[in-house]
C-alpha cells in the first residue's frame, strides 16, 4: 500500500512543483509520481539525519508519545490508512465528535518546551503567548470564531476532516515523506518502526493525556482507530509530515508568523490544535505553538494581508504588531465579519470543506479536477498547506471555475437593462486562479489590477481596449501583518525580487523566481525551521505563505538593503542611519489666517495628540510661523519659555540658530505645550496681510535637511512675497464656461524644485490649505505632489461661519497627527518579465523606471500604475507583481513591506473581459484623464473618457459577442462602466458647464491621484440607501449589534421619494436626506425631532437614541465608517432646504443643467459606435 500512497503523494508534489511554470494542469499528475519521487527521495535521505537529531530528543520530553512518534511514520500505517475507508471513518467522526474546545488545547501542554526554541534562542513560549493575546487582534480570537459562526457544525466537520487529512498526510507521507511535504522528505520516518508500536502508542497516549487529547484530537482518534496515537504522537507524523504541513511558526524564532494552518483551517483552532500537537509537541513547548496558535486564531480569510503579526514574532515584534494597525480592540472582529468574512468567507470556506470532505461533502467547484485522482486529491488536501509554490496547480483549478466567467460574460444590453447595481457595494472580482493561489493572493484592498486576467500580448490588450494597470495601497493600516526578522532576506539574485508565495521550489535547495525565472539557491538559514528544528521546509516559511509580509531589516543589513533597492546611485542620504521621527509645523499667521481662526483649533488638536505622534524617544518637533517675515521658535530644554526669533530677510533666508529649533519632543514637551497655548493669542492682533510662503518653505527645508522628516504647512492665502510669489490666475466669470479650463498646471516651478530638493533630503511636505480666496492650489500643490506629501483643502474655512469645515478640519487633524508614518521610503514595483511599467500616478518622485522615491509614506495614500506588455507572456501562465516598500518606521527601524499579487495570463479576449475589474478600470482612467487634462486640455480628457466607453463597447461587439443584438451590449462584468464614466464626467475634477472654482477642481484632481480605490469610488459614484424601511433581512450580526444591509439604489431622483429617508455615502460625507412626507416615526426615532418642520436646518449629528430604529441606523453608519481612515461627516438635509442642491448634484444618472442623463449618455455612445 505504501507504494501507491507514495506515488500519489509524490505525484501531487510533482504537480506542485512543475505546475507553476506550466500553469500546471492535470497532466502533471500523471507524470508526477515516478520522477518526483525519485528526486525527492535523495534529499530526504540527506536531510533525514539531521532533522531527526533535532527533533527527536525534543519529542520525548514534550509528550509521552514520543516513542510512538517514530512508529507513526510507518509506511504500514499509511497503508492501513488507505485501506480502511476514510469516508466511513470520517463520517463517524463527524457524527460522533462534537468538537471540543479548540482553544483549550494549548493549556494541556504546559510542559516547558523541551525543544530549544528555534534560532532566536529560548523564547519564553508562554510569555510570548500572553503578549500575543494581549494584542488587540489576538485578544478577540474567541469572539472571532464564536460570533462568526461559520456554520459551526460544518466547521467541526471540516476541522475534523482537516485533521484527518492532515494526519493522514502525516501518516502516509511520513513514511513516504513525499506526499505531505513533497519538498521535505523529512527525516523522521526512517526510524519509524511499525504499526504495532503505533497501536501501543495510541493507547499510551490515551492514557496519558486522556482528557486533553481526546478532546482536541477527537476527530483524528476516531478516524484512525489505530491512529489515535497518531494524533497525539502526531509529533511523529508531525515530524515527518507536520513540519511540511504547518511548519513555519516562528521563523528564526524571532518573529515569523505562521498562518498556514489557518488558511486552510480557518475554521477552527481545533484543527490547529491537532496540528500543533502533531507538530511534535511544539504546543507544549509553548513558543512555537503559541505563536502558531495565535496566528490561527486571528487568521481571517487567510488571504488578506492580515495575518497575525505578533503571532509570528513573539518577543521582539510584539509591539510592532501593534504598530501595524492602530485599531481599537473591538475592530478586528467586526472587520473580520464584515469585510473579510463576507467576501472571503464565501470562497474560502466552501473550498476547504469540500477539499476536506471526502465523504459526505459534495465536491465543490474547486475539486473537480482532482476527482479523477481519487486518492491523489485526497492527499493534496491532506497536505496541510499545499506548497504554495506548487499551487500553480491553480491552473488546473481554472477549468473548474467557469461559472464565474460565464456570469461575468453574460451580455447585457444597457439600453434595456435598467437596474444594474448589485444590492451591495461591488466587490473586487476574483482572479481566476486555483483556490490555493487565491487563498494566498494579496488582498484586493492593497493591490488591485484592472484586468484580473492578464492578456498574453500587447496586441490582445489593444484589442480589448481596456487599460492595464495596478492600483496600490501599499502602506494601508493592516490589522494583521506577518513581521519577519531574519538575517538574510531571501531575494532573487538577478531581479532582486523578494521570495513570495508564488515562487517555485525546484527542490529543497533551489527556488525559481516567478518574475524573471532565474533559479536561486535557498540559503541555509531559510531551510531551517526553528520551530521543528528541522530542515527542508522552505516553502513553509511565512514569506512563502503570505502575499503580504514585512521584513525588519537588521541594522547591518539595512544600509545594504537600501543600496540594493536604489541600485546604483546611493547618495549620501542613502547611507545614513535611520532617521528619528521629525515633525515641523509651518503655520500661516497673517491677518487672513487669524481671521479664519484655524490656529487655535490646530494648537488644541496638536496638544491633544502630542503623545500620539508616532515616534520614539528621539522624536523631534519644531515650529515656524510666517506672515511677511518668518518666525522661528527656540524650544531648547531649560528655557523658561519659548523664544521667538524673527527673520525678516526673506530674500535670503537663513536659520538663526542651529540646534535649538528642532527639539526633542520628550525633553521639551513643556515648552512645546507652552508655545501651543500661547500661539493663538500671540498673533491675534496681526495686521499683516502679506504671505511669504516660499521663503518660509525654504527655511523649513534648511531646518529639516539634516534629518529629513515631515513638514506640515498651513496656508490660508495666495503667497505674495519673496520666492514663489503667485498671482491670481482665475477669472471667476470663466468658471462655468465650456471653453476649457485654463491654469490647471503650475504657474511656476519654484514649488516643484523645492519639492524635489525636499525629496532628496527625505523631507515630505503636507499641505493644509484653508482659504476662502483663490490660492492657486495648482502651483502650491506641487510642493506636496513631488515630495510624497498629502494635500488637504478646506474651501471657505471659517471657524464661525463654516462649522462643517471646522469639524472636518478637526477630524482630519486627529487622524493626520496620529496616523502611522514611514520615513525615507522608496517603493519598487517589479513585475513578471514581459510586463513593464508605463506611468505612475500619485504623489512621489519617480527615481527610475520602477522606483518611486517617497520621502514620507502615510497609510492613506494610494498609487496607480499603468502597465504595458512588452513581450508576449505566452511562456508563463501566471503574471506576478510585487511592490516592495522600504521605509524607516517612526521607531527608527528599517522595514520592508512586500506585497505580491499573482494573476493568470489568458489568450482569449473573452477571458480578458471576464476578468475586468470595472472599478479599478474607472479609477485608472480617471488618473489618466487628469494627466491628460493638465498636459492637454480638459475637453480632451473628457472626450478620451467617452471614447474609452465607445471603444470598449465596439471592441466587445466586434470581437466577442456573437449576438446580432442591436443596442449597446457589454459583458456583465463591465455593465457599470458607462455609469461610472458618466459619474466621472460629472465629478468636480472633470465637469464642465457648472460653476467650479479652480482650486476645488484642482483639489479634486489631487484626490483622484492619491485616494485609495474604495474611497475614490464612493466619491465618484456614491452609495445610496433607503433608511426608513430597512428590514433585518440579510443583516449582518456583529458582536451584539445588528447591522442592516439596505439595498443600493441607482443614483437617480426617481428613486428618491418624498416619504422616505435616504442615506448617501459620498466617502468623506454622509448625507441623510429627509423627505417632506417622511413618516414622523422615523424622524422621531432617529433624529429625535417631533416632525419634519422641527428638524433644525444644519443638523450634523444623529442623536444617540435608544429606539431600535435609531440603533439600526447608527449601526449601519458605524459599519460604513469602520474601515475609513478619516471619519466622515454627517449632514442631514431637509427636502426643502437650499442645501438640497448638494444632495441632488450626486444623482449622476439624471440630467443636470449642463450634462446629459445616463440614458442620453448611452445613446451618445451608441451613436459614436455606429460612426
Amino acid at each position: 500500500m505504501s507504494a501507491p500512497g507514495f506515488t500519489n503523494l509524490s505525484s501531487s508534489v510533482n504537480y506542485n512543483q512543475n505546475s507553476t511554470p506550466n500553469g500546471g494542469d492535470a497532466p502533471p499528475y500523471q507524470n508526477g509520481p515516478a520522477q518526483t519521487y525519485q528526486s525527492m527521495y535523495p534529499p530526504t535521505g540527506c536531510y533525514g539525519a539531521p532533522p531527526q537529531h533535532q527533533s527527536y530528543p525534543t519529542i520525548p520530553a514534550h509528550s509521552t508519545p514520543a516513542p510512538s512518534k517514530a512508529s507513526m511514520t510507518n509506511s504500514v500505517h499509511s497503508a492501513n490508512y488507505y485501506q480502511s475507508n476514510h469516508q466511513q471513518q470520517q463520517q463517524q467522526q463527524q457524527q460522533q465528535r462534537p468538537v471540543p474546545q479548540h482553544h483549550v488545547a494549548p493549556s494541556p501542554y504546559s510542559a516547558p518546551p523541551s525543544q530549544p526554541v528555534p534560532s532566536s534562542g529560548p523564547v519564553p513560549p508562554h510569555a510570548q503567548y500572553n503578549q500575543q493575546l494581549q494584542h488587540p487582534p489576538y485578544a478577540t480570537p474567541g469572539s472571532y470564531y464564536g460570533p462568526q459562526s461559520y456554520h459551526p457544525p460544518p466547521a467541526q466537520h471540516t476541522s475534523q476532516q482537516q485533521q484527518q487529512q492532515q494526519q493522514q498526510p502525516t501518516l502516509v507521507p511520513a513514511p513516504a515523506s513525499g506526499p505531505g511535504a513533497p519538498l521535505h522528505p523529512i527525516v523522521s520516518y526512517p526510524s519509524a518502526p511499525g504499526n504495532s508500536q503505533y497501536g501501543t502508542l495510541s493507547s499510551s497516549q490515551n492514557n496519558t493525556t486522556p482528557g486533553v487529547l481526546p478532546t482536541q484530537m477527537g476527530a483524528p482518534l476516531h478516524q484512525y482507530s489505530t491512529s489515535r496515537p497518531a494524533s497525539t504522537t502526531a509529533a511523529q507524523p508531525g515530524y515527518g509530515v507536520a513540519p511540511p504541513s504547518q511548519l513555519v511558526p516562528t521563523v528564526n524564532g524571532q518573529g515569523s508568523t505562521v498562518h498556514q494552518h489557518y488558511d486552510r483551517s480557518c475554521q477552527s483552532s481545533l484543527s490547529y490544535n491537532t496540528y500543533s500537537g502533531a507538530e511534535a509537541d511544539q504546543l507544549p513547548s509553548g513558543t512555537p505553538s503559541t505563536s502558531v496558535h495565535s496566528s490561527p486564531g486571528h487568521h481571517q480569510g487567510g488571504d488578506t494581508s492580515s495575518s497575525s503579526t505578533g503571532s509570528a514574532s513573539p518577543v521582539p515584534n510584539s509591539y510592532d504588531s501593534l504598530e501595524g494597525g492602530n485599531f481599537p480592540d473591538s475592530m478586528p472582529p467586526s472587520n473580520d465579519m464584515t469585510n473579510q468574512a463576507a467576501p472571503y468567507g464565501s470562497y474560502g470556506y466552501p473550498n476547504m470543506q469540500q477539499g476536506y470532505h471526502q465523504g459526505p461533502a459534495s465536491h465543490a467547484d474547486s475539486s473537480p479536477s482532482h476527482d479523477p485522482y481519487g486518492q491523489s486529491s485526497y492527499q493534496q488536501y491532506s497536505q496541510p498547506f499545499p506548497n504554495l509554490s506548487q499551487l500553480s496547480a491553480a491552473l488546473g483549478g481554472l477549468s473548474g471555475v467557469p461559472e464565474l466567467e460565464v456570469e461575468a460574460l453574460t451580455p447585457i444590453n444597457l439600453l434595456q437593462e435598467r437596474s444594474l447595481l448589485p444590492p451591495r457595494p461591488l466587490e473586487a472580482p476574483e482572479p481566476n486562479l486555483s483556490p490555493e493561489l487565491k487563498k494566498v493572493n494579496c488582498s484586493p484592498q492593497t493591490f488591485r489590477c484592472t484586468l484580473t486576467s492578464i492578456p498574453q500580448t500587447q496586441t490582445l490588450l489593444n484589442k480589448a481596449r481596456l487599460p492595464l494597470g495596478l492600483l496600490l495601497h501599499p502602506f494601508r493600516d493592516l490589522q494583521q501583518l506577518p513581521v519577519i526578522t531574519s538575517n538574510t532576506i531571501v531575494r532573487c539574485r538577478s531581479c532582486r525580487t523578494y521570495i513570495n508565495p508564488f515562487v517555485t521550489f525546484l527542490d529543497q535547495r533551489r527556488w525559481k523566481c516567478n518574475l524573471c525565472y532565474r533559479v536561486n539557491d535557498v540559503p541555509d538559514e531559510f531551510m531551517y525551521n526553528p520551530v521543528t528544528r528541522s530542515y527542508g521546509e522552505p516553502h513553509k516559511r511565512p514569506e512563502v505563505q503570505n502575499a503580504t509580509v514585512e521584513f525588519i531589516a537588521s541594522s547591518d543589513y539595512m544600509v545594504g538593503t537600501k543600496r540594493l533597492q536604489v541600485n546604483d546611485n546611493s547618495t549620501t542620504n542613502q547611507l545614513r542611519p535611520p532617521q528619528p521621527a521629525a515633525y515641523l509645523f509651518v503655520l500661516d499667521v497673517s491677518h487672513n489666517a487669524v481671521e479664519s481662526g484655524y490656529l487655535k483649533y490646530f494648537c488644541d488638536s496638536l496638544m491633544e495628540n502630542l503623545d500620539k505622534l508616532p515616534g520614539d524617544s528621539r522624536t523631534r518637533v519644531g515650529f515656524l510661523t510666517f506672515d511677511n517675515t518668518i518666525h522661528f521658535y527656540n524650544l531648547q530644554e531649560g528655557l523658561s519659555q519659548p523664544q521667538m526669533l524673527v527673520v525678516s530677510d526673506i530674500d535670503d533666508v537663513f536659520i538663526p540658530s542651529n540646534d535649538s529649533l528642532m527639539v526633542n519632543l520628550k525633553e521639551s514637551k513643556e515648552l512645546v505645550k507652552d508655545l501651543l497655548t500661547s500661539l493663538p493669542a500671540m498673533f491675534s492682533q496681526s495686521r499683516e496681510t502679506q504671505s511669504a510662503l516660499g521663503p518660509a518653505l525654504q527655511a523649513a527645508f534648511k531646518l529639516m535637511s539634516p534629518t529629513g522628516g515631515r513638514i506640515t504647512v498651513f496656508q490660508t492665502q495666495l503667497p505674495t512675497l519673496g520666492a514663489g510669489a503667485l498671482q491670481s490666475r482665475e477669472d471667476p466669470n470663466q468658471r462655468s464656461s465650456n471653453k476649457g479650463v485654463q491654469h490647471l498646471g503650475p504657474a511656476t516651478d519654484f514649488y516643484k524644485k523645492l519639492a524635489l530638493d525636499c525629496s532628496g533630503q527625505q523631507i515630505g511636505v503636507d499641505l493644509f490649505l484653508l482659504s476662502s480666496q483663490y490660492t492657486d492650489l495648482a502651483s502650491i500643490s506641487c510642493i506636496s505632489k513631488y515630495s510624497a506629501g498629502s494635500i488637504f483643502y478646506y474651501p471657505s474655512f471659517h471657524f464661525i461661519h463654516n462649522p462643517a469645515q471646522l469639524e472636518k478640519f478637526q477630524r482630519d487633524l486627529d487622524r493626520y497627527l496620529s496616523r502611522k508614518i514611514g520615513f525615507e521610503a522608496v517603493m519598487r514595483i517589479r513585475c513578471t518579465k514581459g510586463l513593464s511599467i508605463h506611468t505612475f500616478h500619485g504623489n512621489f518622485f519617480v527615481r527610475s523606471t520602477d522606483l518611486l522615491s517617497l520621502a514620507n509614506v502615510n497609510p492613506d495614500s494610494a498609487f496607480a500604475v499603468q502597465m504595458s506588455i512588452e513581450d508576449s507572456l505566452a511562456d508563463s501562465s501566471l503574471a506576478c507583481f510585487q511592490a516592495a516598500l522600504l521605509y524607516t518606521s517612526s521607531k527608527g527601524k528599517r522595514r520592508i513591506r512586500v506585497h505580491t499579487l499573482c494573476l493568470p495570463v489568458v489568450n482569449q479576449l473573452s477571458d480578458v473581459y471576464a476578468g475586468a475589474d470595472v472599478q479599478a478600470i474607472t479609477c485608472l482612467l480617471a488618473n489618466m484623464a487628469i494627466d491628460r487634462s493638465i498636459t492637454s486640455s480638459l475637453s480632451d480628457a473628457r472626450d478620451a473618457l467617452v471614447n474609452a466607453v465607445v471603444d470598449f463597447a465596439s471592441a466587445y461587439k466586434s470581437n466577442v459577442s456573437n449576438l446580432q443584438q442591436s443596442g449597446l451590449v457589454v459583458p456583465a462584468a463591465m455593465c457599470l462602466f458607462p455609469i461610472y464614466i458618466l459619474a466621472l464626467l460629472k465629478q468636480k475634477a472633470l465637469r464642465t458647464g457648472t460653476s467650479t472654482r479652480l482650486d476645488e477642481r484642482v483639489f479634486a484632481m489631487c484626490e483622484f491621484k492619491t485616494q485609495p480605490l474604495e474611497q475614490l469610488m464612493r466619491m465618484v459614484h456614491p452609495d445610496l440607501y433607503r433608511l426608513d424601511n430597512m428590514s433585518d433581512q440579510g443583516a449582518l450580526h456583529l458582536n451584539d449589534t445588528v447591522v442592516p444591509q439596505p439595498h443600493l439604489l441607482h443614483l437617480s431622483a426617481e428613486n428618491i421619494s418624498r416619504d422616505g429617508a435616504f442615506l448617501l455615502d459620498c466617502g468623506y460625507v454622509f448625507y441623510l436626506w429627509i423627505g417632506k412626507c417622511c413618516n414622523d416615526m422615523f424622524i422621531r426615532d432617529v433624529l429625535g425631532c417631533t416632525n419634519f418642520a422641527s428638524i433644525p436646518p444644519n443638523m450634523s449629528h444623529i442623536p444617540e437614541l435608544e429606539t431600535p430604529l435609531s440603533q439600526r441606523v447608527r449601526a449601519l453608519l458605524d459599519w460604513l465608517q469602520d474601515n475609513r481612515a478619516f471619519s466622515s461627516m454627517m449632514h442631514v438635509i431637509k427636502d426643502d432646504a437650499s442645501t438640497k442642491v448638494t444632495f441632488f448634484q450626486h444623482m449622476v444618472e439624471d440630467r443636470s443643467e449642463s450634462a446629459s442623463s445616463y440614458h442620453e449618455f448611452l445613446q451618445q455612445v451608441q451613436q459614436q459606435m455606429s460612426k
Binding site: N567, N569, G745, K753, I837, H838, F840, F845, T849
Partner: protein, 136 residues
C-alpha cells in the same frame, strides 16, 4: 569650387554638424542610462538641460549662415528642423531655467520613448547632413 563664402559656410556647417552629432549621441546615451536606471533623473536633467539651447543655437546659427550665403536648397532642408526646435521649445514644461526636460515627467514611458526616438532621428539627420555638407 573656389573658396567662396558659401564654401566657408559649408565647412563651418560641417564642423558644427560634427559637434551636433556628438550632442545627439550624448542625448541618446543619457536617455538610455535613464531607462536602465543608471542615473537619477534629477541629475540627468541637470546635465541635459544646459545642452539644449546651445544645440538649438548652433543649428540656428548655420541656418542663418546658409541664408546669408543664399544656399536656398540647404536652407530648405534645414528649415523643418529649425521649425521643430522652435515648436519644441515653445511647448516645454513650466521651468525657470533653460532646457526642456523636467525630472518629474521624464520617467514617463511615453516621454522617455519620445525623447529617445527624437535623439535617434536627430542623429540620423545630422549624419546625413554631415555627408551632404562634406560633398556639397
Amino acid at each position: 569650387m573656389a573658396f567662396t563664402f558659401a564654401a566657408f559656410c559649408y565647412m563651418l556647417a560641417l564642423l558644427l554638424t560634427a559637434a551636433l552629432i556628438f550632442f545627439a549621441i550624448w542625448h541618446i546615451i543619457a536617455f538610455d542610462e535613464l531607462k536602465t536606471d543608471y542615473k537619477n533623473p534629477i541629475d540627468q536633467c541637470n546635465t541635459l538641460n544646459p545642452l539644449v539651447l546651445p544645440e538649438y543655437l548652433i543649428h540656428f546659427f548655420f541656418c542663418v549662415m546658409f541664408f546669408c550665403a543664399a544656399e536656398w536648397l540647404t536652407l530648405c532642408l534645414n528649415l523643418p528642423l529649425l521649425a521643430y526646435h522652435v515648436w519644441r521649445y515653445m511647448s516645454r514644461p513650466v521651468m525657470s531655467c533653460p532646457g526642456l526636460y523636467d525630472p518629474t515627467t521624464i520617467m514617463n514611458a511615453d516621454i522617455l520613448a519620445f525623447c529617445q526616438k527624437e535623439g535617434w532621428c536627430k542623429l540620423a539627420f545630422y549624419l546625413l547632413s554631415f555627408f551632404y555638407y562634406l560633398y556639397g
